[in-house]
């Protein structure tokens, strides 16, 4: 399966703390994306990092990519209760060439006020 895996599956932190989620994948990629999903809602795009990039920032989000280890991490700094959601990484695959996205299993983040 080309599907990635997030780690941990669930994470619970206090408001103000940082949250780190990891993603591992199996095939060569063009880019990797992170999405957020609030309960009962669709997914919202957070950030895209290309295979030739190593780090990217967007507001309180920091994403790193290590293509040699086929892994990525998402760091949310100074977490807020509103950050409570599931977070998914998604990769395309250079090998299929179809540019479809393959989603991981997600990390369920709970931020306690």
């Amino acid at each position: 399966s080309q599907q990635g895996e997030e780690d941990p599956q669930a994470l619970s932190i206090q408001e103000g703390e940082n949250a780190t989620m990891n993603c591992s994948y199996k095939t060569s990629i063009n880019n990797l994306q992170w999405y957020r999903q609030n309960s009962g809602r669709g997914l919202v795009h957070l950030i895209l990092i290309r295979s030739n990039e190593r780090e990217k920032h967007s507001g309180r989000l920091r994403v790193t990519l290590d293509t040699s280890k086929k892994s990525s991490s998402l760091l949310i700094t100074a977490s807020r209760a509103a950050d409570t959601a599931s977070y998914f990484c998604a990769t395309d695959s250079r090998e299929t060439g179809a540019n479809n996205l393959f989603f991981g299993t997600g990390t369920r983040l709970t931020v306690i006020p």
Binding site: Q3, L43, N100, L101, F103
Partner: protein, 114 residues
């Protein structure tokens, strides 16, 4: 800018019945995707359209699932007959092109098959 619209939001049917879902993508988006998301899992691509043509339907169970995008805008996904394991959220997404970039998701349709 209006987002991706889906209807209905919820549907409950008995097994062996049929059901259809509708999606209206963001205006101007050439590519439309249907995903199935089973509880506790990530979305799995069912079918991808570029305008009104199918780009990838390799994971679509074609014996019971069908989808169309006749005019290259709206799309419908149909299940006939439904099985218990089809209970899931069906998500529609759209993007400007097939370049593997950002996808915009609708709110989804939660299907329960009893």
């Amino acid at each position: 800018e209006a987002g991706v619209a889906q209807s209905p939001r919820y549907k409950i049917i008995e097994k062996r019945q049929s059901v259809a879902f509708w999606c209206n993508p963001i205006s101007g988006h050439a590519t439309l995707y249907w995903y199935q998301q089973i509880l506790g899992q990530g979305p799995k691509l069912l079918i991808q359209f570029q305008n009104n043509g199918v780009v990838d339907d390799s994971q679509l169970p074609k014996d019971r699932f069908s989808a169309e995008r006749l005019k290259g805008v709206d799309s419908t996904l149909k299940i006939q007959p439904a099985k218990l394991e089809d209970s899931a959220v069906y998500l529609c997404a759209s993007s400007l092109d097939t370049g593997g970039g950002e996808q915009y998701f609708g709110p989804g349709t939660r299907l329960t098959v009893t």
